[in-house]
């Protein structure tokens, strides 16, 4: 388990991180969400030891992270980059070897991973000759080639086509399933929502909310219901204990004071006829995000 407690970072007068604390559990895919300049990249750099914090601690399994531990981290920085004149395979093998893999094993790992990422045919091309999308895939290979035991990825999905997004999602899920803590940031909230077990929301250098997605939904999302009928749903406004949030002809979103009040709405709708659907509205991450950041 990767744990941050009270991590702070100051850039001159600006407090970039203010007592940031959260955990990334083993085998948990954790999404790291926040606006631009909220402190995501700074946090990740501190976890990787690339940047020194001004206070607080980062621990792995309860112990402070050593240099040896960090060799087992997989990192994809926000600012992408590989050696432009090195070949894809050569570059990937080089990084695996810097992490301590023997040449043969490094070679095997790299080939296997590049194949999976759809770069099997481009292994002998230089990085600079690849398209941006393929460079991005090579970057992912660079973060994963040493079979990391902790993954920290800064915006791994930006710039990827839908096929590659799919592949990378699969790879991340596999790494997490193998028991590694995985932390990644993304502005694509739909992907985060679909993929993540846990969420960490950061705003202005402070953690606004953190925890399992379901818990956050219960805490921050109000319970809403959606009704769609063939006829006009105007009668909803007259129902006792019901607060209509949105309304449009036969469609309405409402909050109910009690279970009984909600059941009464369904009974009334069935009695009036023409019910198309009656569902509990799913609180999206975007909604939670807006609420906690506000």
């Amino acid at each position: 388990m990767l744990e941050l407690s009270n991590v702070s970072k100051r850039y001159g007068d600006r407090l970039a991180l203010d007592q940031v604390s959260f955990t990334v559990g083993d085998g948990r895919l954790t999404g790291f969400v926040g606006g631009n300049g909220a402190g995501k990249t700074t946090t990740m750099r501190i976890i990787l030891g690339v940047l020194a914090s001004d206070g607080g601690s980062v621990t792995l399994g309860g112990a402070p992270i050593t240099e040896a531990d960090r060799r087992r981290f997989g990192y994809m920085p926000e600012e992408r980059g590989l050696y432009p004149k090195m070949k894809v395979l050569e570059q990937t093998v080089y990084l695996a070897r810097l992490h301590g893999w023997a040449p043969a094993a490094a070679h095997r790992n790299a080939l296997e991973l590049l194949e999976r990422l759809g770069l099997g045919e481009r292994t002998n091309d230089t990085i600079e000759s690849l398209s941006l999308g393929n460079q991005q895939r090579a970057q992912i290979a660079a973060a994963l080639v040493h079979q990391p035991e902790v993954l920290v990825l800064d915006e791994p999905f930006s710039g990827l086509d839908p096929m590659a997004v799919e592949t990378v999602q699969g790879v991340l899920a596999d790494v997490a399933a193998a028991g590694a803590p995985v932390l990644f940031s993304s502005h694509q909230l739909d992907i985060v929502e679909r993929l993540c077990d846990d969420l960490v929301i950061i705003a202005g250098g402070r953690i606004a909310a953190a925890g399992p997605g379901d818990t956050l939904r219960t805490e921050h999302g109000s319970e809403r219901w959606e009704l769609l009928t063939a006829g006009d749903a105007g009668w909803l406004r007259e129902q006792p204990g019901i607060q209509v949030v949105e309304f449009d002809g036969g469609w309405a979103v409402f909050e109910a004071e009690s279970d009984a009040a909600r059941q009464a709405v369904l009974a009334e709708a069935v009695a009036r006829g023409g019910v198309v659907s009656f569902t509990r509205e799913h609180t999206t991450l975007a909604q939670i995000f807006k609420e906690v950041v506000r």
């Binding site: 388990m1 083993d26 060799r71 994809m76 600012e79 990084l95 810097l98 035991e149 193998a178 028991g179």
Partner: protein, 394 residues
């Protein structure tokens, strides 16, 4: 943590045991596929290896090295031609004159049957002169030329008295100038070439942002050390190749005399260069780390470039000035040129190179420490040039 592990399936979980402090890994402590954490030396040699491989693959590097080699070879050849190296002169000999010409290193005897045959050889240009027996001459021979006095033959056959000088000049001034120029240009070219290379390599990593991945894997110290060693090996290899080529050229052109006098000073030059280059490399790397774009390398490395250029000009202009040379031989930046020069001229006591070397070593250690600090503090600062004060403070 145990519940997390219990929930997860697959490779890592099945191998996971209790956390074992000291092994480094919290997961696969017993896993056979999990490599050991590479040591500092391992990392450095990988980084240095990459620097060397990539440089050797660069066409620009190979071409410039080739040009430098050709220049060295050409200057050795030119030295041979203009150095007035005495070659043997062919002379036609008639009869009893053979005894006089034989045993003279400067002359090669071409036997001729009689005077007519010898004259024919001379007119055909086969020989430069004829040496014929002459009973009336005190030496017993006559030298016959075609249209002018054959000076080299006359010289070779002359008897010269023993000459003794009361204050012999240790080294011919022209030769001293040539040697000074040689040390200066080789130091200047190599230090500048590889210093610039190292600067470019540092900025390339910053500009392409690959440095952040590298720093998350290895320490800034390992990265800097690997770069400096990789490029030092290349620079050193080039120096050795130049030295070998020059020595080979001197032997092939028969300039063995020059070689003998140069030996010790060349060895000192190589030793001083090896250490001095590490110092310059660290300074080049640190300067380059302060900027983020290749275009800014020139301006930011100017101070270090000056440190390389000044000794070059000083040694060329002041190689006959003992005071300037003595100072140069102790100032760390010019010692790699100054001290070997003094050793060559024979003006340095035996212990002087060692003292100068100690000063150079201490300065190099200091430069590496400061360089590493600047390098570490500025690597992740992209954008505008980082001011020196900030780079030192961090």
């Amino acid at each position: 943590m145990s519940t997390e592990q219990g929930r997860s399936a697959g490779r890592v979980a099945s191998e996971a045991s209790e956390s074992r402090p000291g092994t480094g890994s919290r997961y696969g402590a017993g896993a056979p596929t999990r490599p050991a954490t590479p040591s500092f030396v391992d990392s450095v040699s990988l980084i240095a290896g990459r620097e060397i491989t990539m440089r050797l693959r660069s066409k620009a590097f190979l071409i410039s090295t080739g040009v430098l080699m050709l220049a060295v070879l050409a200057s050795v050849m030119l030295g041979s031609i203009f150095g007035g190296q005495s070659e043997t002169t062919k002379v036609a000999v008639i009869g009893g004159a053979t005894a006089v010409v034989d045993g003279n290193d400067a002359l090669e005897a071409v036997p001729a049957a009689d005077e007519t045959a010898a004259e024919q050889l001379l007119r055909d240009g086969e020989v430069d002169a004829i040496v014929a027996p002459a009973a009336s001459d005190p030496l017993g021979i006559t030298v016959i030329g075609l249209d002018s006095t054959p000076d080299s033959v006359v010289q070779a056959l002359s008897v010269q008295p023993t000459v003794e000088l009361l204050e012999p000049a240790a080294v011919d001034p022209t030769l001293a100038y040539l040697v000074a120029f040689g040390f200066g240009i080789v130091f200047f070219m190599s230090a500048l070439t590889f210093g610039t290379t190292i600067a470019q390599s540092v900025v390339e990593e910053k500009q392409t942002r690959v440095v952040e991945i590298l720093l998350s894997t290895v320490t800034a110290r390992a990265l800097l050390t690997g770069k400096v060693i990789g490029n030092s090996v290349l620079a050193f290899g080039q120096i050795l190749a130049i030295a070998a080529l020059a020595i080979l050229g001197l032997i092939l052109t028969g300039q063995r005399v020059l070689l003998g006098g140069l030996g010790t000073s060349v060895i000192w030059f190589i030793v001083f260069f090896a250490i001095g280059f590490v110092m310059l490399a660290a300074l080049f790397a640190a300067s380059a780390a302060m900027v983020s774009r290749a275009e800014d390398i020139g301006s930011v490395t100017t101070p270090v470039t000056m440190l390389v250029m000044i000794p070059y000009f000083l040694v060329i202009f002041f190689n006959d000035n003992p005071t300037v040379l003595a100072i140069m031989s102790y100032v760390p930046f010019s010692a790699p040129v100054g001290m070997p020069m003094r050793v060559f001229l024979g003006t340095a006591e035996w212990w002087e190179p060692f003292v100068s070397l100690a000063i150079l070593l201490a300065t190099t250690a200091l430069a590496v420490l400061i360089g590493e600090r600047i390098y570490r503090n500025t690597l992740l600062k992209t954008g505008a040039r980082v001011p020196l004060g900030e780079a030192l403070r961090g």
